[in-house]
Amino acid sequence: MLSIKNLHASVEGKEILKGINLEIKAGEVHAIMGPNGSGKSTLSQVLAGNEAFEVTEGEVTLNGDNLLELETEERAREGIFLAFQYPVEIPGVSNLQFLRTAVNAMRKHKGEPEMNAAEFMKLAREVSKQVDLDPAFLKRGVNEGFSGGEKKRNEIMQALLLQPKLAILDETDSGLDIDALKVVSDGVNALRSADRAILMVTHYQRLLNHIVPDHVHVLAGGKIIKSGGRELALELEERGYGWLGIKDEVAAQ
């Protein structure tokens, strides 16, 4: 489904990604782990098309089509979804209005009829329950005054509504207590299906106890230096990143 070949990317002239190669097939769940500053978040931003990052080399295809040619919103409509590490607030724009606009943009792209306010409200209420968000949140401004955990649940709710082909979860577990982690993981597990791929970017392996990956990759210094199965994550937890020859203060603590 997603194929990344020799991807190089830089921000403000500084190269962060130095040749990433990765193949993700439909139905698979991949986890990318790595110490802080290894380029994990950059990878997810680049895939979503953030213009702050410049792709200097390499290619990325989604089902054979060149992804890098597409604008951010076109990628979204082709099925790329990014759950942000730090979701931004948009004061005054209600979550409901925002989500309906997004869902209808998607439906229009697929040639489906747009949903009216009542239909959408019904759908949104159901989905919000799935991530344990009070439907009252739908009326509030996008992420406005949400706690960290609420923001993350809101991201997952959006994924459930938009039904992407590839969901990229950027540090979705950060800032979550154990209960919230469970709710978010259940949401992500509900996303799992044979025609959808999930790419999780995380520093810790605790999320992987709840969402079991098929493949685990270790990213360091802008490159994937090791790939394996679930057991690789466990090993990382036990031994830290040090045994791979990477320094990581956080993991060492």
Binding site: E51, Q97, T101, L162
Partner: protein
């Protein structure tokens, strides 16, 4: 993320929708201003003697005054002798008695502006007074209003029919010598609306005046007076447009509101005068004095304005809170782009006990425009327990525009409390990225973010207008992505 910024700038480009000219024969005065012009004007309007005297007094006062220069706007001096002070479509007889007698060209004009005046197409629940250049051409729903005892008519008609009311209240809130433009208006005002809501009456429908400048080289000097007697309520809306012309045109209006005990006046404006072209050529000079007096106990005056037009705006809808427990409100959205300049805000003058006021001002600047909030919150010695809350937010789109805040806060009462906050922000790259990542068009995203920024003000508008205002901003933000 410079590209995003560029896109946002592209998005703000827009076309003015209401720039057409109505081809109609008009009676227009030669340009120039002197006492004879005022006498002629008063004669045409068949005014009683007191009105002429009042005008002349104002004119003499105006001659002695100097044009204000303190506003944060910059424009060439207006030549008051190059303007025509009266222009009206030629009439077959005196005053159209019913809509059937109104020139079809005029009806077409208003229909094109989205304000149908025909019996069959009238806006449901909204009575409209249509003012074309210097005269009112039609007023709808006269009958049901009369039944309720509400007077809603052109002010020129009121001067003849209700001279006592006019004498009592005209100039009672904005005296003829209040300021330069108010004095000019008092001398030469042509038409506008008069509203009188009797004691205890809740006006059965929204009242609305639609102002249209059509003729070239004319000034529009409208005068509106609304009196709400004890325990009454009225919601009044005002809309304005003008053709696209290369010359600047002057609009100097005065609006006076009077609220007696327990009365409420809600005054909403969607101002969409021609703003000039993208090089700053043409557009309306909008110099307006709007003031409401909460004379009675528990009275309330609420101003809501959405300002997207005019080359230059100079406007401070204000409230004098005299009655105990009276309430003043000001909700404003002002959008400027290209070379538009706006200096707008409000004055809340707290004189009575426990008076309260709220100011929410949202300024959006784009292009090379300049957008200033200027406000005064004043507590007199008698304003025991008075309160004000002010919030001024500015949104900048592009790095060539200016956003300014000049709030004056004065207090002489120790129990009065004022809180003022102001912030400045831009449409952030992060917000744009989030919207686009969810598949939303950049145009729609900017429009959504700007509308969200204005939400607190839009929710104060009557339903019909809220939709119009939202659309107006959308039109303002329409364009192609670069």
């Amino acid at each position: 993320m410079a590209t995003t910024d560029k896109e946002v700038k592209e998005l703000i480009k827009r076309e003015y929708e209401h720039g057409f000219v109505t081809e109609i024969e008009s009676d227009t005065f030669e340009p120039g201003l002197n006492e004879d012009v005022i006498r002629r004007l008063s004669e045409i309007k068949q005014e009683p003697e007191f009105m002429l005297e009042w005008r002349l007094k104002a004119y003499r006062r105006w001659l002695e005054m100097e044009e204000p220069e303190w506003a944060h706007v910059d424009f060439p001096k207006v030549d008051y002798n190059s303007i025509s002070y009266y222009s009206a479509p030629k009439k077959k007889e005196d005053m159209p008695q019913s809509l059937d007698e109104v020139d079809p060209e005029l009806l077409k004009t208003y229909e094109k502006l989205g304000i149908p005046l025909h019996e069959r197409a009238k806006l449901a629940g909204v009575a409209v007074d249509a003012v074309f250049d210097s005269v009112s051409v039609a007023t709808t729903f006269k009958e049901p209003l009369e039944k309720a005892g509400v007077i809603f008519c052109p002010i020129s008609e009121a001067v003849q029919k209700y001279p006592e009311l006019v004498k009592k209240y005209l100039g009672s809130v904005v005296p003829a010598g209040d300021n330069y433009f108010a004095a000019l208006n008092s001398a030469v005002f042509s038409d506008g609306s008069f509203v009188y809501i009797p004691k205890g009456v809740r006006c059965p429908m929204e009242l609305s005046t639609y102002f249209r400048i059509n003729a070239a080289n004319t000034g529009q000097f409208e005068r509106t007076l609304i009196v709400a007697e004890e325990g009454s309520y009225v919601s009044y809306l005002e809309g304005c447009t003008a053709p696209m012309r290369d010359e600047n045109q002057l609009h100097a209006a005065v609006v006076e509101l009077v609220a007696l005990d327990d009365a409420q006046i809600k005054y909403s404006t969607v101002q969409n005068w021609y703003p000039g072209d993208e090089n700053g050529k043409g557009g309306i000079y909008n110099f307006v004095t709007k003031r409401g007096a909460c004379i009675g106990k528990n009275s309330k005056i609420s101003w809501t304005q959405v300002e997207t037009g005019s080359a230059i705006t100079w406007k401070y809808p204000s409230c004098v809170l005299r009655g105990e427990n009276s309430v003043g409100e000001f909700y404003s959205v002002a959008l400027t782009h290209n070379y538009q300049q706006a200096d707008t805000g409000t004055k809340m003058i707290h004189l009575g006990k426990n008076t309260r006021s709220t100011i929410i001002s949202k300024g959006i600047s784009a292009g090379r425009s300049s957008n200033a909030y200027r406000g005064l919150v004043k507590f007199g010695p008698g304003a025991e327990g008075a309160r004000n809350f002010t919030q001024c937010d500015s949104l900048l789109i592009g790095d060539r525009c200016g956003a300014h805040t000049f709030p004056y806060i004065e207090s002489k009462n120790k129990s009065a409390i004022v809180e003022h906050e102001a912030t400045t922000s831009k449409v952030s790259d992060e917000q744009m990225f989030l919207c686009r990542q969810r598949g939303i068009d950049p145009e729609q995203a900017v429009s959504m973010i700007v509308n969200g920024f204005c939400k607190e003000v839009f929710k104060e508008l009557p339903m019909e207008f809220a939709v119009e205002a939202g659309k107006l901003l959308e039109v303002s933000l329409e364009g192609s992505v670069g």
